[in-house]
Symmetry: C2
């Protein structure tokens, strides 16, 4: 059995980690660093142009561990929900075009003016159900990513792995979960819910929780610089049968986005080996 | 049955809401505003001096809905845990001296250098068990307050009402929960766990979650200015039999702490009637 943490062929770089880079720079930078997997956000894929992006990725032999992101299902009215579904349909097509192993879903928070988080969750359920036939037909698994509760209002009203597992149980084939340690590390049920996710873990994201954290969105830490017990979580993820990549996703305006991206990649490689 | 939201005699002001004020100013300001309940933090009680604080509160006929705060149990070594227990013992005595209806506990996060949140939770359990005999003897109920998961690392490793309820089940008489909407509004199990807390709700704290939230600690909103469904939560809290105060606790460096505290109290009264 290969060891997730020490095998560079199982390291993937999310484009947010090296935000200054275009898709071309990401693919070339990873190739230089001996990294063979990426997970781009849609903005850099679209900026590159879809056919060119697909060719670039193919030519470099890059694995695409996921496309970030679909989701944002809840809306204040039917037109808004329809627009969200259309956008998600395009995201599925983009994921298929670049051969992404899954489409990562940040499901969305409360519609503007709403205080009804339970209603928002129902909208997410319905949006997923509506998207699923197209995703199945395109052979793009939908990776439901629970986000930290501090994002419940404005980014994702699914905030525990239990909720994501429940949705997968309900929706069935073509759905799975993305587990990001940043979002779930605090969860009292974490290890039980990872075990429950066996067979449906589509993505595994690593980074760290800094103390103090000075920004709700853009102050994530490099693995090893915070307080997440990465080894314990990895052990449980592997025990659940996951054999995919460790994807490094670090949104860090004040530290890592200011560094030379080549240096950031070297640090990712080093930490992936030493602490993940 | 009295209605929590429309009865000023059931409004309590946490001292953090009017942070510029001393205990004297808090007691006198609330009296001017026709508010008869407060919940002070220990710093302003200590600054006033305990006997003087007790007399001031008594002379003004103030109800003390809670003393904030004990807790912070986990520590890196035995000496640290001993110091925490000693400090909590003093907090119980202070709560008793001012006739507080409970001691609110922010249980603490990870000890310095630790990544073991499950170990921290065990330390909390042991710290509470060690404190409880003294609290029972002093007739000061311990209000276990689950904090939002964004505080799991540095303030409280108990992050759901389910965890607090579990601890109360385990520890029994003399324990209960403090429910702060800011910390629990996102919880998928919120309403079930409030129902489960029936008979042990020692404090009910109101405020609001702003969108966007720009600071993890000091950007809480006034009731009505955010996205928490305050009415729905109050309905469940009342259905669980709670007949105590609504305590307004707003940590707001950029907005409310900059306003005239008398104006803040007027706004609390108005919002308590209109949206809580």
């Amino acid at each position: 059995m290969r060891d997730l943490a020490n095998d560079r062929s199982l390291l993937s770089i999310n484009s947010m980690t090296v935000k200054p880079w275009s898709l071309e720079q990401l693919v070339e930078g990873c190739t230089r660093a001996g990294i063979s997997a990426i997970s781009p956000w849609r903005d850099i894929v679209q900026a590159c142009g879809l056919p060119r992006a697909a060719k670039l990725i193919r030519d470099h032999g890059m694995t695409v561990t996921g496309l970030c992101r679909g989701g944002m299902f809840p809306a204040a009215d039917e037109a808004g929900r329809r627009a969200a579904l259309d956008d998600n349909t395009r995201a599925v097509d983009e994921a298929a075009a670049i051969g992404a192993r899954c489409l990562v879903l940040v499901v969305g928070g409360l519609p503007k003016g709403s205080r009804d988080i339970f209603g928002a969750r129902q909208q997410v359920r319905e949006g997923l159900a509506a998207l699923l036939p197209h995703a199945r037909a395109a052979n793009v698994p939908l990776a439901i990513e629970p986000l930290h509760p501090m994002y419940a209002a404005d980014r994702a009203c699914l905030n525990t792995l239990a909720q994501a597992n429940d949705l997968c149980d309900e929706l069935g084939e073509g759905t799975g979960v993305a587990i990001d340690v940043y979002h779930v590390w605090w969860d009292p049920q974490l290890h039980e819910q990872i075990a429950r996710a066996a067979g449906r873990i589509l993505a595994y994201h690593v980074n760290d929780w800094l103390v103090p954290t000075t920004d709700l969105l853009l102050d994530r830490g490099m693995m090893g610089d915070g307080i997440i017990d990465l080894r314990a979580i990895r052990t449980t993820v592997e025990a659940a049968g996951y054999r995919g990549h460790c994807e490094v996703e670090i949104l860090s305006a004040k530290t890592w986005w200011k560094r030379d991206p080549d240096e950031v990649l070297r640090t990712c490689i080093e930490r992936h080996q030493s602490v993940v």
